[in-house]
Subunit: 232 residues, 2 copies
């Protein structure tokens, strides 16, 4: 019995099916913007380059289609959806509210360890944004890491998952834009806003955290909308 009890100490082993791995792979490509709106995919080609059969790809793609991260056209073509200008505006509004809620909850519920993670990612982002020639891929990941460090600290996993779905939709647009306008990283207001968010969460000021994160999202969205690369 003691032996059994010993073995049951760390049993949360989670099985990773091939479908899960393919899903995670494509998802990362989308959020980081390496798959741009309009890009076309095919089950067989993806299966080929990933060295698996078509089945796991089908499973992963069906999930991404359900998230509207991919779409299958009436002609049975598979592609990254083009985001209309209006939809991007709406998503910014929704994200400001939902991610603001997560930030407010984080200010109230964060643990000390989570606060440390937030501070670390904030510092990384701040230092990177001051660099003269920043690595864009790393900057994108830094920004994402900071935001999700905040959201994870909310203690609301269901909310984090919803936000993840939103990022999956806007990721291709945001990161494609950042790649074309690298100066936004330095001239934009992201870094000081992140610092203020960290301060608000540290002091437990929920409403301030909510407003700052919402402002960060609106700022990025307004910048992209001003560049007007979106159809409609």
């Amino acid at each position: 019995m003691s032996a059994i009890k010993a073995l049951s100490s760390a049993p949360p082993l989670e099985r990773q099916t091939l479908g899960d791995q393919v899903y995670a792979h494509i998802r990362k490509l989308l959020i980081s913007g390496r798959l741009a709106p309009g890009d076309k995919l095919s089950l067989r080609s993806v299966a080929d380059v990933m060295g698996v059969s078509m089945m796991p790809v089908r499973e992963a793609v069906s999930r991404l289609v359900a998230d509207h991260a991919l779409e299958v056209t009436p002609n049975r073509a598979l592609r990254v959806p083009e985001m209309k200008r209006r939809q991007f505006q709406d998503l910014a509004l929704i994200r400001a509210e939902i991610e603001g809620l997560a930030a407010a909850s984080a200010a109230l519920n964060r643990t000390a360890a989570q606060l440390g993670t937030i501070a670390a990612t904030e510092q990384r982002f701040r230092l990177l944004s001051r660099t003269t020639n920043p690595d864009l891929v790393e900057a994108v990941e830094c920004n994402q890491a900071f935001h999700f460090a905040v959201y994870e600290a909310s203690g609301l996993p269901d909310l984090v998952e919803i936000i993840g779905g939103l990022w999956l939709k806007v990721g291709p647009v945001i990161n494609l834009d950042l790649r074309e306008n690298p100066e936004r990283l330095a001239t934009g207001s992201a870094a000081p806003l992140h610092a203020e968010a960290l301060a608000a969460i540290t002091s437990g000021d929920a409403e301030r955290a909510r407003k700052v994160i919402a402002a960060d999202i609106r700022g990025a969205a307004d910048f992209i909308l001003s560049r007007n690369r979106l159809p409609d």
Copy 2:
């Protein structure tokens, strides 16, 4: 050319794959509570009763698992997840905020036709809640119809989709409870709150609409939590 132009007038024909139909079927069973938490499913049995192969069921189930509307246990069993008490509380908080946002947006953006739909569903629900022996299945559908009539009127389809995902999670719990406590329909405060929400949306009072819908959600959640049928 004129013939082609004529044909392209109404081409938004949407193909319904078998997978889509299976997904819609299971989804309806979940939201209406006919599949209760803990219920077990199997790909082959579902495929059998629906008269299709296993493939469309796999496609549908993989989507529902991605939504956390179903879960596949480490033992490769497929079942409706049990909702923990804490998670249900968190979901109520999230829903109050998100669905409140949708209601507020509906107060500002609803069309006249949408307002009519909201009023019609409100009346249906009000009459039904006064019935001495109401049909519970119909009551559940009425409540759902009213809420989503409001949310559709927000003009934010992405937000409606998020809310749909939330209802998919809480549906089994809420409707299972309503089935066991039918008196909630008459004694609860749902009907007057719905009426007040309709009034707020009619007059364009966004903040009042937000608060009323949030109160409706919290009221139902508190009732269920007081019954304490949830684990943990």
